[in-house]
C-alpha cells in the first residue's frame, strides 16, 4: 500500500504522534497464539444444547405440532414453541420506530420461508437434541409461494406476509422511497441518447469464519449473562428485552472478539430464544448455528433488481437518470426497509446529474430474510451504476474513464437527495488510477480538482 501524500496536502497537517502510524495491533498476539477468547470458547457444567426445528417449505400453514415423542426422548429437557415466547411477534428496527412487527421468533400459524424456526429442542447433548428434533412431528399444508421480486409484485401473487398486507414495504412516501430532483422527463427529452438497462444479483452470504451464536448462563439472581458474537450489544439487549418482556437490567450481554461479521451478525435471532431457554430450564444454554445454518438460515445480502435509465449528451454529460431499485427482503423486514432507502440516496453515484428520479422498493418473497452486509444498500447499486457508466461511455464513443471525469461530482454540487457535496475526492482517485494503471486520459482531466470553483 502506498500513501499518496501529494493530494490534498493543504488540508492535512502531518503533526500526529500516535495516529498515522502502523502500530501493531494489541489483539493480534492473542490471535496468533490461539489465546484470544471468542464467545464459544467456554463451557459450563450442565449446559444444554438448543437445536432448532425448521420449516422444510417455502410457505405453508402449520396444521399441528406433535411433541409427544420428542419430549420423551432421553436427554431432552424442554421443547419450546411460540406459546413460550412472551412477545413472539417482533421486528428488530422497532427500536428506531421502523415497524410494523412482522416476524415470529417461533412460527405460529404459518411458515413463510424454508428454514423458518418452528420449535426449539433443548437437550443435554447435541446428539440428543438432534435425535429429538427428528421426532418432532409438524403437519404442514403447503401454500403457493413467490421466490423472486417479479412474481412477488405480479398481480394476484400470494401474500407473503400478512403484517404488511402486500408484498412490499409501505413507506411514508408510499410503495417506494422516492428521490425527485430536477425534471427527469425534460432531461430525457434533451438527451442525445437514452439507455435503459436492468441488473440483477442473487443472495450473498457474509460467511464469517465463526458462525452466529451465543451461550447463556443464568447468574442465579434472575439475571442472565449472554456471551454473544452480535455486532451490536445494545441492539441485541433491547430487542431481547422486548421479545422476552424482561426488563433490560435482567440482561447482561458480553461480547469479545468476534470471528468476522460483515453484517451477518446484526440480526437478533439466537439470543432471545437462548436466554428464554436458560430462564425456563435454569441451565446454561448453547445455541450456535451450524455452518449449514450460517449459509442458508442466517440473513444473506439481499437479491436485487435494478433498472437504470439514463439520458446522455454526445459530449458526455449525463442529463437525466431514472432508477427503479428492488430489494428482495425475503419473508420479513429485518434491516431491508432501511437498506432500500439508503440505496435511494446513493443512486446518482458520485456524479452530478441535474435531473434524477429514484424509486426504491423493499419487496417480500418466500425466501430467507435478507439483511445487512458489508456495503449494505450500496454494493449492488454500485455494480449496476458502474456497469451502466461503462455502457454509456461506449454508447457515445468516449473513453470510460474520461466519461467519469466529465460527470464527477465536486465540492458544492447539489446531490439529488439535496445534500451539498463536501469533501469530494473522486476526481483525484481517478487521476491517481489513471497513473497507476497506465490508463491515459486527456490533460484537462488531470488538471481538474474536486475543490469548489471560486
Amino acid at each position: 500500500m502506498k500513501l499518496a501524500k501529494s493530494y490534498f496536502a493543504d488540508e492535512r497537517k502531518d503533526d500526529l504522534k500516535e495516529l498515522g502510524k502502523g502500530l501493531q495491533r494489541s489483539d493480534v498476539p492473542g490471535h496468533v497464539t490461539g489465546k484470544t477468547s471468542y464467545f464459544a470458547d467456554r463451557t459450563f457444567p450442565g449446559m444444554l444444547y438448543l437445536k432448532m426445528v425448521r420449516s422444510p417449505h417455502d410457505h405453508a400453514r402449520i396444521r399441528s405440532v406433535d411433541l409427544s415423542e420428542a419430549e420423551k426422548h432421553p436427554g431432552v429437557h424442554r421443547i419450546l414453541t411460540h406459546k413460550d415466547i412472551p412477545h413472539n411477534l417482533y421486528t428488530i428496527l422497532i427500536l428506531i420506530q421502523v415497524g410494523p412487527e412482522d416476524e415470529h421468533v417461533l412460527a405460529e400459524d404459518k411458515v413463510r420461508w424454508k428454514g423458518e424456526a418452528v420449535v426449539a429442542v433443548l437437550a443435554d447433548s447435541e446428539r440428543a437434541a438432534n435425535e429429538a428434533a427428528a421426532k418432532v412431528k409438524i403437519d404442514y399444508e403447503v401454500l403457493p409461494s413467490v421466490l423472486d421480486i417479479e412474481s412477488a409484485l405480479a398481480p394476484g401473487a400470494p401474500v407473503v406476509n400478512e403484517h404488511h398486507g402486500q408484498n412490499f414495504y409501505m413507506y411514508d412516501s408510499g410503495a417506494s422511497r422516492k428521490v425527485r430532483f430536477g425534471d427527469v422527463e425534460k432531461g430525457f427529452a434533451e438527451a442525445d441518447h437514452i439507455l435503459e438497462q436492468t441488473y440483477w444479483s442473487s443472495p450473498i452470504e457474509q460467511a464469517p469464519m465463526e458462525t452466529t451464536g451465543c451461550i447463556v448462563a443464568p447468574e442465579g439472581n434472575d439475571r442472565f449473562t449472554c456471551y454473544t458474537n452480535t455486532q451490536a450489544m445494545f441492539f441485541t439487549l433491547d430487542n431481547t428485552s422486548i421479545i422476552l418482556q424482561m426488563p433490560g437490567h435482567k440482561l447482561h450481554m458480553v461480547g469479545g472478539t468476534v470471528g468476522g461479521g460483515f453484517g451477518g451478525k446484526v440480526d437478533v435471532t439466537v439470543e432471545p430464544i437462548a436466554i428464554l431457554a436458560a430462564k425456563l430450564t435454569g441451565r446454561p444454554v448453547s445455541f450456535i448455528y451450524s455452518r449449514h445454518e450460517e449459509m442458508q438460515i442466517s440473513s444473506p445480502r439481499a437479491a436485487e433488481k435494478i433498472v437504470l435509465k439514463d439520458g446522455v449528451m454526445k459530449d458526455g454529460r449525463i442529463v437525466a437518470r431514472q432508477v427503479w431499485g428492488y430489494t428482495d427482503a425475503g419473508a420479513y423486514s429485518r434491516h431491508s426497509p432501511y437498506g432500500a432507502q439508503k440505496g435511494a440516496a446513493h443512486y446518482p453515484g458520485p456524479y452530478t446529474i441535474p435531473n434524477v428520479w429514484v424509486d426504491t422498493f423493499c419487496v417480500y418473497t418466500n425466501r430467507t430474510p435478507s439483511s445487512a452486509m458489508r456495503g449494505f444498500g450500496v454494493t449492488i447499486a454500485d455494480f449496476a451504476l458502474e456497469v451502466q457508466m461503462d455502457k454509456l461511455a461506449r454508447l457515445i464513443g468516449m473513453d470510460p474513464l474520461e466519461f467519469r471525469f466529465v460527470n464527477a461530482y465536486r465540492d458544492g454540487d447539489m446531490k439529488a437527495h439535496r445534500q451539498e457535496t463536501t469533501g469530494a475526492a473522486l476526481i483525484e482517485c481517478m487521476q491517481e488510477a489513471s497513473r497507476v494503471a497506465n490508463w491515459p486520459v486527456a490533460e484537462k482531466y488531470l488538471k481538474m480538482s474536486s475543490y469548489k470553483e471560486s
Binding site: 446428539r127 440428543a128 438432534n130 435425535e131 428434533a133 427428528a134 451450524s290 449449514h292
Partner: protein
C-alpha cells in the same frame, strides 16, 4: 442413542459389525464424521478396522495394491506411484489428503471421488469382503460392500493423464475430472485408450465412444477431434452448487482436448 465407535481388528469383523442398523464404516472420517456432525441421526455406530493390511501400499512387479485406509497423501508421496500422484493430490487440501482414503473415495458421490475416476481409468480391481470386482462393476453396485484394497497396474507417467477442473484454485470441488490411460503403439499412435470421467453421472463413468475414437489416432488437434466430439456421448452430468449439467457437458470436450494435447 449416543454415537459410539466400534473398533475391529480385522476387516471381516468390521464387515459383520456393519450389518447392525445405524452402523457406518469410518475411513478418514471426511464423509461419515461430517454426516454425524451435521446431525445425521441415522448413523449411530462408527465401525473401523485397525487391520494393518488396510493401510499398506504394496508395489510388486508393476502392480500396486492399496489398502482401503491408504490416504491420498501417502499415495502422493510414494516413490513408486509418482505417475498417479497428481490424481491423489487433486483431492482436497493437505489436511483432507492426510485423512481421505482410497476406500472412502470409492464411495464418495459426485462431485467428490476424483481418485476413483483415476482408478476407473486404471482398470483397477476392487477387493472386498464379498469378493473381487472389476471397478466398473464395483461402482455400479457399491452400496453395502466393504472394501479391503484396490489393485492396478502402475502406468508409466507418459501413459497416464489426469485433470481436475475446479472453480477455485488450487483446491476446489470438481467441475469435472478426467482420467486417461493412453497405450501407445510402436508408431507413437494411440493403440488403446481408457478414459474415465467424474461428475458426468452420480459416480465415475467411462467414455467408451471417445476411447474407440482415439484408437489409432496421434495426439494432434485434427486427429483427436473425433474423440473430442464423442467424449460427451451418453454422459448425464450432475447439477450442483459448482456447475450445472449444461455447463459440465459444454466444457467436457474442451478440457478433454486440452488433456490429450497437453
Amino acid at each position: 442413542m449416543p454415537l459410539a465407535l466400534k473398533t475391529c481388528s480385522t476387516i471381516a469383523e468390521a464387515g459383520a459389525a456393519l450389518k447392525d442398523g445405524g452402523a457406518r464404516y469410518i475411513g478418514g472420517g471426511t464423509l461419515v464424521v461430517r454426516a454425524a456432525n451435521e446431525g445425521d441421526v441415522s448413523l449411530s455406530t462408527y465401525v473401523r478396522s485397525t487391520d494393518p493390511v488396510l493401510s499398506a501400499i504394496k508395489v510388486e512387479a508393476g502392480r500396486a495394491t492399496l489398502g482401503a485406509s491408504v490416504t491420498m497423501s501417502s499415495i502422493a508421496r510414494h516413490p513408486d506411484l509418482s505417475a498417479i500422484a497428481g490424481a491423489a493430490k487433486a483431492v482436497g487440501g493437505p489436511a483432507i489428503r492426510n485423512m481421505a482414503t482410497v476406500g472412502g473415495n470409492l464411495f464418495a458421490p459426485a462431485p467428490y471421488g476424483d481418485f476413483a475416476v483415476a482408478l476407473l481409468a486404471l482398470d483397477a480391481t476392487v477387493h472386498t469382503t464379498t469378493g473381487d470386482f472389476g471397478i466398473e462393476d464395483f461402482l455400479a453396485g457399491r452400496d453395502g460392500k466393504v472394501v479391503a484394497s484396490v489393485s492396478f497396474d502402475v502406468p508409466s507417467a507418459e501413459k497416464f493423464r489426469f485433470a481436475k477442473i475446479s472453480r477455485t484454485k488450487p483446491k476446489g470441488v470438481s467441475v469435472l475430472s478426467i482420467g486417461a490411460v493412453l497405450e501407445p503403439d510402436a508408431n507413437g499412435k494411440v493403440k488403446s485408450a481408457r478414459i474415465a470421467l467424474g461428475c458426468m453421472a452420480d459416480r465415475p463413468i467411462r467414455a467408451r465412444a471417445a476411447e474407440k475414437a482415439l484408437a489409432g489416432a496421434t495426439l494432434r488437434e485434427e486427429d483427436v477431434a473425433p474423440a473430442v466430439a464423442a467424449v460427451g456421448e451418453g454422459v448425464q452430468p450432475i447439477t450442483d452448487a459448482i456447475a450445472s449439467a449444461w455447463y459440465r457437458a459444454e466444457v467436457l470436450p474442451v478440457h478433454f482436448r486440452r488433456l490429450l494435447l497437453e
